[in-house]
């Protein structure tokens, strides 16, 4: 995993930059493989337990592989009052997985997020970085159809 080495160098192997380093590692592999965490621990000269405690504390990190498409549903207050729970339920049902999970064919990962700050357009669903506003339960299937 030479990419990890490059990321560590980018942050001058400074252990206070652990969160940023793990973010970059996750961007590289779309999750945090065990070997990468070991390499970060060795490279920064800090215990693996500390790397692990940070990696499990923050919601943004995943210790399991992610699907090809990430579907994120906003659960912020403004989206909630406009029925985001129905949207999440629909996605759950379509994928047959819970938020945080990935379908067995590694096609979709389902995420719920606390607030994306697009509160005026709720409910919000994001597919691979593209924002969809004012989504209804019947839209969910239609939006996902375009993912190959």
């Amino acid at each position: 995993m030479s990419e990890v080495g490059a990321i560590l160098d980018k942050y001058q192997r400074d252990s206070s930059q652990l969160v940023s380093i793990l973010q970059d590692v996750q961007e590289e592999y779309s999750w945090l493989p065990k070997e990468a965490l070991t390499q970060v621990s060795k490279g920064l000269r800090i215990p693996l337990s500390r790397v692990f405690s940070v990696a499990t504390f923050f919601k943004a990190f995943s210790l399991v592989p992610k699907g090809r498409h990430t579907v994120t549903i906003c659960m912020g207050t403004a989206c909630h009052v406009r029925g985001s729970l129905h949207i999440l339920d629909r996605a759950r049902q379509l994928f047959n997985i819970e938020p945080g999970g990935t379908t067995s064919d590694l096609k979709f990962s389902l995420e719920s997020v606390n607030c994306l700050g697009c509160c005026a357009l709720g409910p919000i669903m994001v597919v691979d970085g593209e924002y969809h506003g004012r989504v209804t339960t019947s839209d969910v299937g239609k939006i996902l159809e375009s993912c190959d």
Binding site: S16, Q17, Q23, V54, F58, M75, H86, L116, G117, S138
Partner: protein, 617 residues
């Protein structure tokens, strides 16, 4: 771009930029914040760009991408300068028509905003009621600027507050001005900013740090995102002035990773400020050094709490610590640290430039200046609104927000995020002020203002906030970790029809213990949504518990969907959309039949039915 090495050089640069620009040259400005992009503003911008190129009009018509204009609801927004003609819901196909109208100095009627109250079309931006009742001193500049071009910020007077502070004032004088302005922290607590600065300044220990808290975690609030995306230089300018005052040479911006555009625009702004000598070593040739690092959050709500944020900056899990020693004395790396919210920092340049007396002219006795709110939920005009402190909730919701959607009845407004509370109709004439809002059991918070109508269930909302906090409690202290969980379980029971009469008393007792014994504000304020909903909407709890009924028809376990036979023409749309085949088609012109045993209450049939032939009981 060469470095700016003195105050005179900054003014010279400003003059050059201004002279280069023709104020009468038409400019098409496309609002391109995250909201705008969700509406497709990128495609709209490209369409304009291509059309201008196709017609060879590059020298006659300018085009610009700005940050968020606040009226997110109506995106994509396009403003034509210098006239300030305001177009809403613009699509890429509209580009040729709009460009034609700019050439002929005409207006495209079809794209104008229609006032829902009078039914009249409004041509110019400042005349729209949504903007008219606002007082935009912090968010106004978003309109004029491409946030990725420092020249735009300099052209409207950017960094002149910094040069005034450094060259005309001593750090003590700057501090005095901020104290006299009585600026209070916009992140929610409302702590006097000047006092915080003073404590950090006087604390022993070097180096000192200054931090921008852009970990805007409150669900339903997004003013910090909008400022960081649309005008990052104003936040940086405030931060540099603060660093100069306190005597810090290193600063951090802690920003949510869920805001990718804000991170990107901030990075560009920091680079440009460094290139221009406004950040880094020997700022403006004054001998003052100050460097900024950007740190992205990892998606933990508790990191908005200052001690948790600093732990995260040090590369540790974002757990708060007990605050018997303030961060101003021992914060980041145990050094004196001053942390303020994005909006607080953005207020600083304005106060320095226009003076504390000007600032004190706005607001109430205890709360000066303006506050940006994100007015969202079941209100007609949703978006970001900046209003003077002291305005009433009614003015915000009805005059600016245009009242409740779909002619429904107002039920409550929620402020302060999960730490705040609900305010019922009887409090609509309450004045927006840090102290007044606290008195009624809520808090100002970072500025989320979520409007709820009769279709919102208050027990469900209380459950929502507790379940949010259950996921976000860091688990370090027991009152919060266990208390939040138990409260959420009790509330879930009530919403699912398993509530017992003694539950209400138990909730109140748990609330008392958590407020007393939790380590940080997350746990201490967690009971607020429960306490305020119990205080103002106890009847809804009672309906759920005693009658097993959800008056707002929200709680799934307590409702059922029914076909209204007289209204159903048997079109079959719901049959086609039902994910579990619970609805059976009985032939044309015959009402469909819904099988309650199969129904999962997903609400799709209710959504798709065009004839309101589905009833919720």
């Amino acid at each position: 771009m060469p470095r700016v090495n003195s105050r005179a050089e900054l003014e010279k640069l400003r003059k050059e930029i201004q002279e280069k620009r023709d104020p009468n040259k038409p400019c098409i400005s496309v609002s391109s914040g995250t909201c705008g992009r969700a509406f497709g503003s990128e495609r709209v911008y490209t369409a304009f760009e291509e059309e201008i190129e196709r017609q060879g009009l590059e020298s006659e018509i300018a085009i610009k991408k700005t940050g968020c204009l606040g009226f997110c609801e109506r995106g994509t927004l396009v403003v034509i300068y210098p006239e300030e003609i305001f177009y809403t819901r613009v699509q890429p196909e509209d580009a040729p028509k709009v460009i034609q109208s700019v050439k002929e100095r005409k207006v495209v009627d079809r794209l104008l905003y229609t006032d829902p109250v009078t039914g009249k079309k409004i041509t110019y931006e400042p005349e729209i009621p949504f903007y008219k009742a606002q007082q935009r001193i912090i968010s106004e500049a978003n309109r004029w600027m491409d946030p990725r071009n420092i020249e735009d910020y300099v052209a409207i007077g950017g960094y002149s507050a910094l040069s005034k502070a450094i060259f005309e004032m001593t750090p003590e004088e700057v501090l005095e001005e901020i104290k006299r302005a009585n600026l209070r922290g916009r992140g929610g607590g409302g702590f006097p900013t000047g006092r915080k600065w003073e404590t950090t300044k006087k604390s022993l220990g070097e180096p000192k740090y200054v931090i921008v808290n852009c970990d805007e975690g409150d669900p339903g609030a997004y003013m910090d995102r909008s400022l960081m995306e649309g005008n990052p230089h104003s936040v940086l300018e405030g931060l540099i002035i603060g660093a100069y005052t306190i005597g810090a040479h290193e600063g951090y911006v802690y920003i949510r990773n869920e805001y990718p555009l804000a991170v990107e625009n901030l990075r560009i702004a920091v680079n440009q400020a460094e290139e221009h000598g406004l950040l880094g070593g020997n700022i403006l040739g004054s001998g003052f050094d100050f460097r900024v690092r950007i740190s992205r959050g990892g998606g933990a709500f508790v990191c908005g709490e200052s001690s948790a944020l600093m732990a995260s900056l040090e590369g540790r899990p974002g757990e708060p610590r007990a605050k018997y020693v303030h961060a101003a004395e021992r914060g980041l790396w145990d050094r004196p640290t001053n942390l303020n919210n994005v909006e607080t920092w953005a207020n600083v340049p304005q106060i320095i430039l226009k003076g504390a007396d000007w600032y004190r002219g706005m607001g109430t006795d205890g709360s000066k200046g303006t506050k940006i709110f994100s007015l969202v939920g079941k209100v007609n005009n949703t978006g970001l609104v900046e209003v003077p402190m002291g305005i009433t909730l009614r003015e915000i919701i009805y005059d600016i927000g245009g009242g409740i959607r779909d002619n429904k009845k107002f039920k409550a407004v929620q402020t302060g995020g999960p730490s705040g509370g609900f305010m019922p109709e009887s409090l609509l004439d309450l004045r927006v002020d840090f102290d007044e809002i606290s008195k009624v059991g809520s808090m100002m918070g970072s500025g989320g203002m979520i409007v709820m109508d009769e279709g919102t269930c208050m027990v469900d909302m209380a459950r929502y906030f507790l379940s949010f906090l259950e996921g976000e409690s860091c688990g370090k202290c027991i009152p919060c970790r266990e208390g939040v969980k138990r409260m959420r379980q009790i509330l879930t029971g009530i919403t699912e029809g398993r509530g017992k009469e003694e539950d209400i008393e138990l909730l109140e007792r748990l609330s008392m213990y958590m407020a007393e014994a939790s380590l940080c504000a997350l746990g201490r304020t967690a009971p607020n949504p429960v306490l305020t909903s119990l205080r103002y909407f106890r009847d809804e709890y009672e309906a759920h518990i005693k009658e097993k009924r959800c008056p707002a028809k929200v709680c799934k376990e307590l409702i059922s969907y029914h076909i209204i036979d007289e209204k159903c023409p048997g079109c079959g749309l719901c049959v086609k959309n039902c994910p579990v085949e619970a609805i059976t088609f009985m032939g044309k012109k015959k009402p469909v039949i819904l099988d309650q045993s199969k129904c999962i209450k997903c609400g799709i049939c209710f959504d798709v039915c065009k004839l309101s032939a589905i009833d919720v009981r």
